[in-house]
């Protein structure tokens, strides 16, 4: 067990190292010293109170999206359509927040969150049902539905929910009216964007921990993910598990969108999530699907997100460089063979 942990940690470090090396090539290519660039990245992410607060602000959505992705992968299915659920969750939360009046704050916030989760469930219902009961590939299905969801949000907002006074000519943002004060999440530290969504995210991580480590249902999910055939023999309803796993994944992704709207933007702005779904999948993989791992990975991701901006400001290394970094990590993170190459092979000497 301990050895396995060390191995998994070492291969994670190796993926990180390769990521840093590959992006260093791109940084050198534009004539910047990579050490200077990475120093700016680190400084921008974790140096000083303000930077840490903003890093935490980015940690919130990544933590929630990471959990959403992990819930599906735990049960051996993939939800590639996280972005779609994030957008739909955000839009529904923004609409509930803006148009339903006269509720006490706490109920209003809860209503927004619940509605966004329900919308996430509805959107993943079709791929989940088709995957579980008809064995239709969920990867392509959720991915396609994600594109559709984003276009649908754009269509709905431009045609039905955008008031003329919300249109700023200069930026041409597609956006809804602002949400009411009663639906806003409180800021933890006053002038900054860090909202009490952090507690919601941590609560979600806690629920995740309890579900997978303390309940029988959670164990059934894990077992289905490890080996569906074995789970089937053990009398577990594999189809139902896959079905519920995908639905919960959609619900949590919707929640992530809602937290972004209620805690940061206070309205739905089209294009607010920059690659959040894809990066969330990376977070769940880096965190090795464990709640503590995902929390640390999301803090890392939040740091990258915040630090990359500082790096772009100071050294003119573009944000795409960090996206390359993330992609390289995703490519390397499941590649067990990379780690095996590093190991000295004692077997060889025994005449293998």
């Amino acid at each position: 067990m301990k050895r396995k942990f060390i191995e998994s940690f070492a291969s994670l470090l190796l993926a990180l190292l390769i990521g840093f090396l590959v992006s260093a090539i791109f940084i050198i290519a534009i004539g910047v010293n990579p050490f200077v660039a990475y120093r700016e990245l680190l400084k921008g992410a974790f140096w000083g109170k303000v930077n840490i607060i903003i890093t935490l602000r980015w940690t919130i959505p990544y933590l929630v999206v990471g959990l959403a992705s992990a819930v599906a992968i735990k049960a051996g299915v993939f939800n590639m359509g996280l972005d779609g659920c994030i957008y739909l969750g955000a839009l529904s939360a923004a609409l509930v927040g803006a148009y339903i009046t006269g509720l006490p704050s706490i109920i209003h916030i809860l209503l927004c969150l619940v509605v966004s989760m329900i919308v996430g469930i509805i959107w993943t219902f079709i791929p989940a049902w088709l995957k579980a009961y008809h064995n239709i590939n969920e990867v392509i299905m959720t991915w396609m539905l994600s594109y559709i969801a984003i276009l649908l949000c754009q269509y709905l907002v431009t045609n039905y929910f955008q008031r003329s006074e919300d249109i700023i000519q200069a930026v041409q943002q597609v956006r809804t009216p602002p949400i009411l004060d009663s639906a806003k999440l409180k800021q933890i530290v006053k002038p900054y964007q860090l909202s009490s969504g952090l507690y919601i995210a941590l609560f979600a991580a806690l629920c995740f921990y309890i579900f997978y480590n303390k309940t029988i249902k959670g164990y059934e999910h894990t077992m289905t993910g490890l080996s569906p055939k074995f789970a089937e023999y053990a009398g577990i309803n594999v189809k139902k598990i896959q079905f519920t796993a995908l639905l919960s994944s959609g619900a949590i992704a919707g929640l992530a969108g809602a937290i972004e709207v209620l805690g940061v933007h206070y309205r739905y702005i089209h294009g607010f999530s920059s690659n959040m779904g894809a990066n969330g999948i990376m977070v769940s993989l880096m965190g090795r699907l464990s709640p503590i791992g995902i929390s640390i990975a999301s803090l890392f991701m939040g740091g990258i997100q915040n630090g990359a901006r500082a790096m772009a400001r100071e050294t003119n290394v573009s944000l795409d460089t960090m996206q390359i970094f993330i992609a390289v990590i995703v490519i390397c993170i499941t590649a067990e063979g990379l780690y095996e190459i590093l190991k000295i092979k004692p077997k060889m000497r025994e005449g293998d």
């Binding site: 791109f26 290519a29 534009i30 993939f78 590639m80 088709l130 008809h134 064995n135 239709i136 590939n137 990867v139 392509i140 299905m141 991915w143 396609m144 539905l145 594109y147 559709i148 276009l151 649908l152 754009q154 269509y155 431009t158 045609n159 894809a278 999948i281 993989l285 573009s318 795409d320 460089t321 996206q323 390359i324 993330i326 992609a327 390289v328 990590i329 995703v330 490519i331 390397c332 993170i333 499941t334 590649a335 067990e336 063979g337 990379l338």
Partner: protein
């Protein structure tokens, strides 16, 4: 109104729209026969389309553009193969990572190499000329087959060629044996990894052609993420046809014509967002239609 949608122009446009999907799907079908469910086709195609326009712009030759595209597609596919077979990365996550990488990589390269942010268009870049076939071009309706560029005809030619290669030649038997049971190859003293790389290389070359078609086939230009989900449509076609090459080809062409019809609907005042959805909606319909087929123990991933 029907006249406006179903005319010769629609079908002719449909063939053009089908070409990148067809090429990608054929490449992916070879991978599928070799037992690899490859969702990185989109990424291969995007990188190839970038280098296609780079080659055509700097050396002012469409042939160089195509060669650049094929070479880059080949290279990235072999790297994919390396990670999949040598480093044993997870199929879906690896493909996902490659797609992410290609978007970020082309977005990054766009700035220093072509000097544009988000998109690149320079009228000095050559693009492939349309081939007008004598005789055929003057027959009504049949003339939709004329006036396409070389890659379109090549893609049609590739359907029978790949069919022969995969189902009628020893090389193809080995590829398919790899997909069924890699041990068969090993028992016969062959290296399964070698055939895996071959299948990836074919996919890379075909996706390279598809990328070249996108970037220099019509208007020579590159925009960020210009493949816009075509690779996934190809994957859906492969899933639908269960990797059988003739069906994959047919489905892709039908798909292209369906997209052309959707584009004609835009002229009738449908909102752009809804028109933009059609490829994704058609992909989903195609996947759902696989339900209708009989499936006696077929290979599904």
């Amino acid at each position: 109104m029907l006249q406006m949608i179903f005319n010769e122009g629609t079908f002719s446009m449909g063939f053009d729209l089908a070409t990148p999907i067809l090429l990608c799907a054929l490449g992916g079908a070879v991978c599928n026969n070799a037992g690899n469910f490859n969702i990185a086709l989109e990424g291969f195609m995007l990188i190839a389309s970038f280098f296609g326009v780079v080659g055509a712009f700097f050396l002012k030759s469409t042939l160089v553009g195509i060669l650049f595209a094929i070479a880059s597609g080949f290279l990235i596919a072999v790297i994919y193969g390396l990670f999949r077979s040598r480093f044993k990365a997870h199929e879906i996550i690896l493909g996902f990572g490659f797609n992410m990488f290609s978007i970020a990589f082309t977005g990054w390269m766009l700035v220093p190499i072509l000097g544009g942010r988000g998109s690149f268009y320079n009228p000095a870049t050559p693009s492939l000329s349309k081939i007008s076939i004598p005789l055929i071009r003057s027959i009504p309706f049949i003339r939709i087959l004329s006036n396409h560029n070389i890659i379109v005809y090549l893609s049609w030619l590739l359907i029978p060629l790949l069919y022969i290669l995969i189902y009628r030649m020893p090389f193809g038997f080995k590829i398919r044996a790899l997909g069924q049971e890699p041990e068969i190859l090993r028992v016969n003293g062959l290296n399964p990894n070698k055939y895996f790389y071959f299948s990836e290389a074919i996919a890379g070359i075909l996706c390279g052609l598809a990328g070249a078609f996108l970037s220099i086939g019509n208007l020579s230009m590159f925009t960020e993420n210009m493949t816009a989900g075509r690779g996934f449509i190809a994957v859906a076609a492969i899933v639908f046809a269960n990797g059988y090459i003739p069906t994959v080809g047919l489905i892709s062409i039908v798909f292209g014509i369906a997209s052309a019809i959707a584009i004609q609907l835009q002229g009738l005042g449908m909102p752009t967002e809804l028109i933009d959805m059609t490829p994704y909606v058609l992909t989903i319909i195609m996947l759902v239609l696989t339900l209708l087929k009989k499936k006696p123990g077929q290979l599904t991933n």
